[in-house]
């Protein structure tokens, strides 16, 4: 602490050369780099890195310190998350952690490593409702809404689209099953009818027999709760090939370009709608992010990437607000910088945020993924929209 005091003094005297004293401030960037969803995680990691790049280009943290993201592979598995969490917290001595991605990994890392160590974590994609109930001492945050929100929102949107009788199939994993359960309850209570519901194991070569059973139930559409890569694409292909269903709805695990390249945009157009956390693509926050992320050669419509950028940006704001690298102070500051009231800060506006914090003004980050207001459990409420395939063979929000 003494050292940072000296650096502060030097920076005040000669602001121009403060970067000469720059140190690294390490924040963990944990995610399922290997494991079942590596191709969803890679762009998320890139979006976090983009935020770090923006921050470092615009003056860095505190006194020109380098905002350094240290990657850790949580493998989408609690054992792997605990292992990488131990290294990030104890060996790399990170001040906070962004991630991990999967819910089981997040629970394992939080309960076994970061809560006891007093390190705050912020996941952009852990959506299991059970994370809300963790006894986390205010140290577990997520800027992805709990599945409880998405299932209910999707039920409303399906009915608004004019479908009242649907069949449901879901992959047997924590994420898809959670959404499916909430969807079914909400759809029924909204007056809709679930004609049949069946879970399926991912990674099978064919789902024709499962879907033909569902298709005989008289449903108007099939709800596919699955990851596109492990079963979603196959289910839709099997259904179309055999003429079993010609209308599909899904959740954000299905929103990937690969599904379009695999089956063909012409075969899918008008037949599939998927929900995803609405990043309100008209908002200037999202546009800023999308422009920069596209310029970096990445796809801004890749699922959760706006949230990844926001998570990395928010953590930097919390460090700036805390005024140092004390882990407890950062955890406390995180909620202040995200929530209203305060001066609105948008993606990429690091200099403006830094000046506002230096002047002692309250700030309110308006992220690419939404306005991000944490509740007492460290959760955010979700807004969702349906995406369809446009004439260029890309996903667009309806």
């Amino acid at each position: 602490m003494k050292k940072s005091f000296l650096i502060t003094g030097a920076a005040v005297v000669a602001t121009g050369i403060s970067s000469a004293f720059a140190a690294d401030i390490k924040v963990g960037s944990a995610g399922g780099i290997t494991g079942p969803i590596p191709d969803l995680v890679a762009p998320m990691m890139a979006a976090r890195d983009l935020a770090a790049k923006h921050i470092n280009e615009q003056g860095g943290l505190l006194d020109g310190d380098n905002y350094m993201l240290v990657k850790g592979d949580s493998k989408c598995d609690a054992k792997g998350a605990v292992d990488t969490g131990q290294k990030l917290v104890n060996v790399e001595q990170v001040v906070a952690i962004i991630g991990p991605n999967c819910s089981g990994a997040t629970i394992g890392m939080a309960e076994s490593v970061t809560i006891p160590a007093g390190v705050v974590i912020l996941s952009e994609s852990a959506t299991a409702p059970s994370i809300t109930d963790l006894e986390d001492k205010g140290l577990v945050f997520r800027n992805a809404p709990s599945d409880a929100y998405q299932g209910a929102a999707l039920a409303d949107m399906v009915m608004e689209s004019g479908y009242n009788k649907v069949a449901v199939t879901y992959a047997n994993d924590d994420y898809n099953k959670g959404i499916a359960e909430v969807f079914e309850a909400a759809f029924k209570s909204g007056g809709g009818m679930i004609t049949a519901s069946a879970e399926h194991e991912p990674e099978k070569a064919s789902y024709t027999s499962e879907i033909s059973t569902l298709s005989r139930s008289g449903a108007e559409a099939l709800m596919v709760f699955a990851y596109y890569g492990s079963s979603g694409t196959t289910i839709i292909r099997n259904s179309l090939e055999n003429g079993l269903f010609d209308m599909f709805f899904g959740a954000d695990g299905m929103r990937n370009e690969e599904i379009i390249t695999d089956i063909g945009a012409d075969n899918l157009r008008g037949k599939i709608m998927v929900s995803a956390p609405s990043s309100d693509t008209e908002s200037s926050s999202y546009k800023m992010f999308a422009e920069e992320f596209s310029a970096a050669g990445e796809d801004p419509s890749a699922v959760y990437t706006p949230g990844s950028y926001d998570a990395a940006f928010l953590m930097a704001l919390a460090i700036e607000k805390a005024g140092g690298t004390d882990r407890g102070a950062i955890a406390e500051a995180l909620m202040e910088v995200a929530n209203a009231p305060g001066e609105a800060i948008m993606p990429g506006q690091w200099e403006k945020a830094k000046a506002a914090i230096a002047a002692g003004r309250d700030i309110n980050y308006q992220g690419a993924s939404g306005s991000i207001e944490f509740d007492a459990n460290g959760d955010v409420a979700g807004t969702y929209s349906l995406s369809v395939i446009d004439n260029n063979g890309k996903w667009v929000e309806k």
Binding site: K71, K87, V89, Q93, S112, N172
Partner: protein
């Protein structure tokens, strides 16, 4: 936080995890090292043990079986008994199979166990797993809670090591070696080969259950992803083969060595240039495979070779 203190905490964690893997490796050593039973379903017995201890020790949650809130002295033996019972049922059906057929059968059984645990929601909360598993000594202040957990694991290992060394040198161990080396001769000598093979399989299964239970308490969470073959079955095999199959010291050594390589390699790979960062995670798999190749070239029987006890 002081960085030396952090490294100290990581070292404790590393040894604790290494110790838990060592329990699994000792279990496999009884089956493969002593008796020559090719069990490719370690993950299944691991999962049964982990889930059993989770159900015995957690408070009531309404999402899964439980509510017993029993302490460690009930959950660890409970896990061993449950895994032993499953192992006995498996052994009873397929212990007569020759080594490679047994491997295929056990691989299938592990997958069945994993899918059952994943689908029986009422008992296991399905894919969402069981959280809030109590961790022994977690109420002690840091770092004593972690040191106490490590000491517990090491004490269990010491007891297991002494018992298994005793068993290996005893006539029981020599019969196992005889069955492994020449089953027909053992049979001709009047030994009940099937009976001994079942004993070895059940005992090994019980230790794998114990390893699973310790892992569940250590991570405080268990879900079906934790029983994936790559991070449970195959790494345990690599540990035993590198350490020295048939040698209890080799089993211990292999577990700590491979786990340390596996875990610490990430500290190195995260320091690679940015364009390598995402690939580096996969590089670790490659490095562990490479280490296996090199060690087996240099030490075909594992680093610590088996020493046969010499009869008097």
């Amino acid at each position: 936080m002081d960085s030396l203190y952090g490294i100290f905490l990581y070292a404790i964690y590393l040894l604790t995890m290494g110790g838990i893997y060592a329990v699994l490796v000792m279990g496999l050593n009884i089956q493969w090292g002593f008796t020559g039973l090719f069990n490719a379903g370690i993950a299944g017995f691991f999962a049964v043990g982990a889930y059993t201890s989770a159900i015995i020790s957690t408070a009531s949650s309404g999402r899964h079986l439980g509510g017993l809130s029993l302490p460690l002295w009930a959950s660890l033996p409970g896990a061993m008994i449950a895994s032993a019972l499953i192992a006995w049922a498996v052994a009873w059906i397929c212990i007569r199979l020759r080594s490679d057929y047994l491997a295929i059968a056990t691989l299938g059984i592990a997958e069945i166990l994993r899918l059952v645990l994943k689908n029986e929601d009422w008992a296991t909360n399905g894919a969402r797993g069981i959280s809030r598993i109590p961790k022994p000594f977690e109420d002690l202040p840091e770092p004593w809670n972690q040191i106490a957990m490590l000491l517990l694991v090491l004490a269990i290992l010491l007891v297991l090591y002494l018992l298994l060394e005793r068993a290996r040198r005893a006539p029981w161990g020599r019969v196992m070696t005889a069955i492994r080396e020449n089953e027909a001769a053992a049979r001709a000598a009047g030994k009940n080969v099937e009976g001994f093979r079942i004993e070895a399989f059940v005992l090994g299964g019980a230790l794998m259950g114990l390893g699973g239970a310790l892992m569940a308490h250590h991570v405080k969470f268990i879900d079906p992803n934790m029983a994936e073959p790559l991070s449970t079955t195959f790494i345990v095999w690599v540990m035993l083969i590198i350490g020295g199959s048939g040698n209890n010291k080799g089993a211990l050594f292999g577990a700590f060595l491979v786990w340390t390589l596996w875990s610490t390699s990430e500290i190195v790979t995260t320091r690679l240039p940015a364009e390598w960062e995402l690939k580096s995670a996969y590089l670790r798999f490659f490095l562990v495979g490479l280490a296996l190749q090199i060690i087996l070239q240099r030490y075909p029987a594992g680093i610590l070779k088996e020493h046969r006890p010499i009869g008097k």
